[in-house]
């Protein structure tokens, strides 16, 4: 079955990023197609490569990146939420004249249309957040 996931909460905040990750991992293990994980509101903070959690803690961003690399899961950050919170890729750096980028590998920045498309195309959309 084709599944999509929406994450509305930042990493290390409460549990949404962890629950969503565990859910996606289990869905892939069961042979389902996870077509997209859309990160909205504070959820976009999952996609910065500049985080350095303590070594004995889970690295939430790297976990997502490996998921994208190993399973071709499309990780999309909402562009308006990124602009508010300082999540920047090459295109955004150019457009908004920023001197750096911080988006992690495996993530891309796009619009809410990607969430609508996921909701329409996937058989189920599962939301995690606070």
């Amino acid at each position: 079955m084709k599944l999509a996931v929406l994450v509305n909460e930042g990493p290390y905040q409460h549990q949404a990023s962890d629950s969503a990750f565990q859910f996606v991992t289990a869905a892939l293990a069961a042979g389902h197609d996870v077509m997209r994980v859309f990160f909205y509101h504070d959820g976009v903070n999952n996609g910065t490569r500049l985080t350095t959690p303590p070594q004995d803690d889970r690295h939430i961003q790297k976990r997502w990146t490996s998921l994208a690399t190993d399973n071709k899961v499309d990780l999309v950050l909402c562009v308006a939420a990124c602009q508010r919170r300082g999540l920047v890729d090459d295109g955004e750096a150019k457009r908004n004249a920023k001197d750096a980028t911080n988006i992690a590998e495996g993530f891309r920045i796009s619009g809410l249309g990607q969430l609508v498309e996921a909701a329409v195309e996937a058989d189920r959309l599962v939301t995690f957040g606070d």
Binding site: A16, S19, Q22, A26, R124, V126, T127, G129
Partner: protein, 102 residues
């Protein structure tokens, strides 16, 4: 099957479990995850609410979240079935739609 309703807040903190249970229809299911998982334990103030809901809806709790909160060996309400993440995925797939009560 009907709708899978996911509740993630403790009923001792937020009203979402109560709001959810008052609005769902026959054949809908409820999955308690994250902080809501604690309400599945026997003898809490939410027991009666869940017992009533179980007459028309199937109730589930995410076992790993109960375990993370120190309730691995706790006695659960009779009407609640514990599932793991694989079971969570299965519930999503076997219901027609999913609604998270955030």
């Amino acid at each position: 099957m009907g709708t899978l309703n996911i509740v993630n807040k403790s009923p001792f903190e937020k009203r979402t479990l109560d709001q959810c249970l008052k609005r769902i229809g026959e054949g809908d299911s409820v999955l308690l995850i994250e902080d809501a998982s604690v309400s599945a334990v026997l003898g809490t103030a939410s027991a009666e609410l869940l017992l009533n809901a179980s007459k028309q809806s199937k109730l589930y709790v995410l076992g790993p979240d109960l375990q993370a909160r120190g309730f691995a060996d706790a006695t659960l309400l009779d009407s609640i079935e514990s599932v793991d993440y694989e079971g969570f995925v299965n519930l999503v797939v076997t219901h027609d739609r999913v609604h998270s009560w955030l």
